[in-house]
């Protein structure tokens, strides 16, 4: 009897935060922010992976999507080289030691929603020599890297942000394999590496590199000293490796991009978890030099997060609001500026790859969206571009990470669950009522030794 009551009480407590009615509007410059909430257990829904089979991601009418390659050792970010070749950064970093009882349990649960593939720790190069959209060539451009993630090419130098160092390869057009081991430009903060991904962008003149460094915790639960040099964007002198914080308080700046024309640095940032399904929105923002964006002391400007102690009212007062909310827990991991070659609907703005949520009952993200720009600023709601990563059956077939725009008119999407590179192109014919999705023909295993097709 007693036990029954206790169990019922526990169940009520545990699910107290589970049911949300309607989600608040959480995109744009002024998202609705509810009060923080937390039951005994955070509201959770972990992706349930399943192979693609005959299913394919959905794209808007007038566009087709194909899988151009698969079987990677965790495909994260891509880079389109001037000759059209695509570099794929493969790897899984992190591996922080479990510190609390929770870490064992949460680590086990969250691992169920991700790829079981081994970390490739390399860059693969894909080539479509005849321009027919089939990437028949595939080589390993460089291997023995340490969880490479951010990629940038400027002035004959290919920069790669490993999880522990920023390195450089010399690159000549047409090259399919790096000519030697990379040169280290600077070490990057890598202790613990809770958020291990190091995002990267290069200034147009190639003088500076910007490296996004994620926090070492959700909200300082590994202690304040672990957060030294974390949750910020570094500006690195490409010639000397000298670096300084360019902007701080960015919890996890997972992708960086330079705006064409203005040279302005933009970032997508993943915000904190475990204060409810509708807090805190991940965001897209121009990264202002010297600015503080709140983490850990506050979010979306001056909304104080009491979990970070001791508090710092002066830092909170200095925190600025990001430009554009993308929605809570969408896990934006990729950003790329579009070109008019992507078609009139997607001519000006950014594509954002959303890996998808765990910290809410009703999943968010799991798609690629487009945020239109007007006058160089985000304008209007995010538009779905690639969806169907989560099926009507509730199973998850893919999770988008990096997005890259091929200037010839293609969107490259890295999917780190099925370890596939997807390519979205406008159909050349007039976009009639319904453009059929072309059946994917990823290059077979026989052509790609060592690769494993997940379907």
């Amino acid at each position: 009897m007693n036990r029954g009551v206790a169990v019922a009480a526990l169940a009520a407590l545990a699910t107290g935060c589970g049911h949300q009615q309607r989600d608040p509007v959480q995109y744009g410059p002024d998202p609705q922010l509810p009060e923080p909430e937390r039951g005994l257990v955070p509201s959770m829904k972990i992706a349930d992976p399943t192979p693609w089979g005959n299913a394919r991601p959905t794209v808007p009418p007038g566009y087709t999507i194909t899988a151009i390659a698969t079987g990677f050792g965790i495909a994260r970010q891509t880079l389109v080289l001037p000759n059209g070749d695509i570099l794929v950064a493969e790897g899984r970093g992190g591996g922080e030691p479990a510190l609390r009882p929770k870490d064992f349990i949460a680590g086990f649960i969250k691992a169920k929603g991700t790829s079981q593939a081994k970390s490739g720790n390399r860059l693969s190069l894909l080539r479509d020599a005849d321009g027919d959209g089939v990437y028949e060539g595939r080589t390993i451009f460089a291997d023995k890297l340490n969880a490479p993630y951010g990629l940038a090419l400027v002035g004959g130098q290919l920069y790669v942000a490993n999880q522990d160092a920023l390195v450089r390869f010399a690159y000549a057009p047409g090259q399919t394999r790096a000519s030697g081991a990379p040169v280290t430009i600077t070490e990057l903060p890598a202790k613990i590496n809770h958020h291990w991904t190091k995002s990267l962008a290069a200034s147009p003149d190639g003088r500076f590199l910007y490296v996004g460094i994620g926090s070492n915790s959700n909200i300082t639960e590994r202690g304040m000293p672990a957060e030294i040099d974390r949750a910020m964007v570094w500006q690195v002198d490409a010639a000397t490796g000298a670096h300084r914080p360019f902007a701080t308080g960015l919890r996890n700046p997972t992708a960086l991009a330079i705006q064409p024309g203005t040279g302005q640095l933009w970032a997508v940032v993943n915000e904190r978890d475990e204060i409810g399904p509708n807090l805190v929105p991940d965001y897209l923002t121009s990264v202002r030099e010297g600015a503080f964006y709140g983490w850990p002391f506050s979010y979306w400007g001056q909304h104080v997060d009491t979990r970070a102690q001791p508090q710092d009212p002066r830092k909170v007062a200095s925190a600025i609001r990001p430009d554009y909310a993308l929605g809570s827990h969408v896990a934006a991991l990729g950003v790329a500026f579009s070109t008019p070659a992507m078609g009139p609907r997607f001519a000006e703005g950014v594509f954002v790859g959303e890996h998808g949520s765990w910290n809410r009952q009703r999943p968010s993200g799991y798609k690629v969206v487009f945020v239109a720009f007007r006058g160089g600023r985000p304008a209007g709601p995010p538009v779905d571009v690639v969806t169907g990563f989560q099926g009507a059956d509730g199973k998850t077939r893919g999770r988008p990470v990096g997005v890259t725009v091929d200037p010839r008119g293609a969107l490259i999407v890295a999917d780190d669950l099925s370890n596939t590179i997807w390519r979205v192109v406008p159909t050349r014919r007039t976009p009639a009522a319904e453009a059929p999705t072309r059946p994917a023909a990823p290059t077979g295993e026989e052509t790609h030794p060592g690769s494993r097709t997940p379907y």
Binding site: R100, E274, T306
Partner: protein
């Protein structure tokens, strides 16, 4: 409680049961002290200590609870000290479980619930230990 009233020999408490009910006390107490230390210093390591001490305390409490439940079934007692002992352990387990979930929150989110629950748990653990060991004393007399 016994079937053949006066002639029944009281069963002596098992040393392992004594170890379990008594052993939970310093673990809960250690958790409480760690919570208080975290509360006054915001030094995260104290909350890690508290979380692990609670895990140990819950292992002891869980085992003692199972033991007390079996003992209850075997003696068929509907009242008296075995029942009190079991009920106290059950309450302790419930509070300890909630406290464990609270300790799974990140950083200061465990405050102020953590020290409050740990204090209740420590008090219950002390009562459960006294009740559990007193069973021996009463029966042996």
């Amino acid at each position: 409680m016994a079937v053949t009233a006066a002639a029944s020999r009281p069963t002596a408490i098992h040393p392992l049961y004594a170890f379990l009910v008594a052993g939970a006390v310093p673990l809960f107490l250690g958790g409480l002290l760690s919570d208080l230390a975290y509360g006054s210093s915001a030094e995260i390591q104290w909350s890690n200590f508290a979380a692990w001490l609670l895990v140990g305390a819950m292992v002891f409490t869980g085992c003692a609870l199972v033991w007390a439940f079996i003992a209850l079934l075997r003696t068929g007692a509907r009242r008296g000290r075995p029942l009190l002992s079991f009920v106290l352990l059950l309450a302790l387990f419930a509070v300890g479980l909630i406290d464990s979930f609270v300790h799974a929150r990140d950083a200061w989110a465990i405050m102020p619930a953590a020290p409050i629950l740990s204090a209740i748990a420590t008090a219950l653990a002390a009562l459960a230990a006294v009740a559990g060991l007193a069973t021996l004393r009463a029966d042996a007399r």
